[in-house]
Symmetry: C2
Subunit: 385 residues, 2 copies
């Protein structure tokens, strides 16, 4: 029996649909945040994140903190970069602008490398930028939720290691972790940050991050204190290490129910190899994108090789706007998202296909969504004629 | 039928027991954070906070942000105080030290006015401090969860208005809002910050705050930009105002299920007058404290008039430590908290009696806890002889 009431299918690029088991964990009874039963669950959750991010280096440091995904940027900007230091921000949509804003807040000097909407900066220009100036870090949005653009991490990591090996590689994996190819150790990633409500399949409210041993050493050797209190590694690292060692510890009260839900979501996620999960997301994405193409609709990423597997950003037919089509979808029990990239927001919609929606085909949500889009467009077309 | 599994009674000073309705709201199905159904619920929740804090001034600004209660300090320190400005921190326990730490992080200069453990700074010394230097703000911990000390807001507010009317009055109401006397307008409070998991009766994960029109104007006239990104009023104020106007808006994804649970908790809380709720907490507190006294145990607050109504901090008999008594309580299905104030942590325990535990006497949790404490102590005494 489902624990969730009947509801429209949430097919936006996060929050996503949750399983009944995750929903049930959300209503876990009140627990002491320093009592052993909860301490054990939180500790296990932190260890499970090592498997999710695919890191075997015991020096890698996981974080789970109450907050939105956005908090991950503060964690990076306030702890791993010092005032006056340069950061190269690879721009593939809305989220690079915001990350740059966050970096500036804490005194860093972000330089954005931009690309046309639906594209991403290319390796030769990144190489030139890295050779022109010493950057403390490079940030990249793995999947930019505003454009559906996928950035490939391995070649970027290879380039940084070759040209500027001290530079930290920071991956904003909010819309990718748990669904796109991301191997923390093999790709020599320094920071991978994400949120609970995307491909991990937990409700929103948790900022989740993995930090490499190298980046932790950079933090330890910083000259100025962290620029934030709530987002300070100084405050959180002992807490995370104590919890993972199954010892109670207090800085701020963790969201006990959300941690229970994350624990459940991670166990479901890790019940099969991550590679199989990534492959399934790729398969579903390919299917969605080919069906969208058959409908005669254009997609945002200019080069299909740059398209995310977790979502599809779809241009509407000329003259049609999201407020016209989204209610037609809703009438059929399908929730898509409107546009987010300011310059083109009125011209496109976004379809998230990750987590349980992609993994459990028996739910039928993918075809339900495609059919709703097809018939919604046909209805509008018919009304015009 | 209860939606919650059988579990020990959580009687710590937060998180607290939640009602079945709140637990059920936590497992709400996934919703779009910018879809009208959720926007309406979030908007209504913000408006309900005006009733909770008792403010009728439309210029008062409510905030609900994913985070622990601690985040409220960053919101104050990064937005309402500028680098180099002085803040008077009234110390009644652990939490003043942390708030001062947070203020320093963002460049403010905190001056702590301390008192012996179990006491709080007195009005004459506060008056002298306010006359000696110009303070941008005074912070006070309404109930210090580490000591159970209650600070009285009205006389402090009167003093500030008389001696230093420009100074902002910031009340850390984490362990008080929803149970102690706090009238935002009548007391001319500028900031009241709290968390979801204390007397409000929602699970942890939300930083909740009300800011006065005067303080909002102080923010608008600041010369330097806010010191935080995630805790920036600049980023959040438009979002809160849009949601309250039932318009979708995006800065960071709100924790949709926690907001549903807060909405339910607030409706339950506001189903009766706040004065009646405060009176019931006072009645339960008086009963608990007199029963503890009958057991021959001392309490932390030196003057009973300084004792919180939401919790009781209890000194253990000479030689007995929390790790000896807490498992005895747990064996009887009662969870108390150990000590938190570093200097005396090994000598006392804390009993939270707020929210549904205090309001719904039919739950029988208060007497269950008192009996467990009594028999636990007797058992230890017996084993010694």
């Amino acid at each position: 029996m489902s624990t969730q009431a009947a509801h429209p299918s949430l097919l936006i690029p996060g929050p996503i649909e949750i399983t009944d088991e995750v929903a049930q964990s959300m209503s876990y009874y009140a627990q002491s945040h320093v009592g052993q039963p909860f301490v054990n669950v939180f500790g296990e959750t932190l260890t499970l994140l090592r498997d999710l991010f695919q890191t075997k280096n015991p020096g890698s440091q996981p974080f789970v903190i109450a907050g939105s995904g956005t908090l991950g940027w503060d964690l990076v900007a306030a702890n791993l970069v010092e005032p006056g230091e340069d950061v190269l921000v690879l721009h593939s949509g809305y989220f690079a602008d915001s990350f740059a804003d966050c970096l500036s807040t804490y005194g860093a000097k972000p330089t954005q490398l931009k690309a046309p909407i639906g594209d991403r900066p290319q390796l030769p220009e990144i190489e030139a930028a890295l050779k022109a100036k010493k950057y403390k870090a490079v940030t990249v949005t793995h999947v930019d939720t505003s454009t559906g653009v996928l950035s490939h991490i391995q070649p970027l990591a290879d380039l940084i290691r070759k040209v500027s090996p001290d530079t930290l590689l920071v991956v904003d994996g909010v819309c990718s972790v748990g669904a796109e190819e991301l191997h923390f150790d093999n790709m020599a990633i320094d920071v991978a940050l994400t949120a609970s409500q995307k491909a991990i399949g937990c409700p929103p409210g948790l900022s989740i991050m993995m930090v490499s041993e190298k980046a932790m050493n950079v933090f330890k050797s910083r000259k100025s204190p962290p620029g934030s209190y709530y987002a300070s590694f100084k405050n959180w690292v002992p807490i995370m290490q104590n919890y993972e060692a199954k010892k109670p510890s207090y800085f701020a009260t963790p969201p006990t129910q959300l941690v229970q839900a994350l624990n459940t979501a991670l166990k479901q996620l890790l019940s099969q190899p991550i590679a199989a999960r990534v492959a399934q997301h790729q398969k579903i994405s390919k299917y969605v994108k080919s069906e969208i193409m058959k409908m005669g609709l254009k997609q945002l990423p200019i080069d299909p090789a740059n398209a995310a597997n977790t979502m599809t950003a779809i241009y509407l037919p000329e003259g049609l706007t999201p407020p016209e089509i989204l209610p037609k979808l809703m009438a059929q029990g399908v929730v898509f998202a409107g546009g987010l990239h300011k310059e083109i927001a009125a011209r496109y919609i976004r379809f998230g296909h990750m987590g349980v929606t992609a993994m459990d085909e028996s739910r039928g949500e993918i075809d339900k969504a495609l059919n709703a889009l097809k018939s919604g467009l046909a209805e509008i077309e018919k009304a015009k004629n």
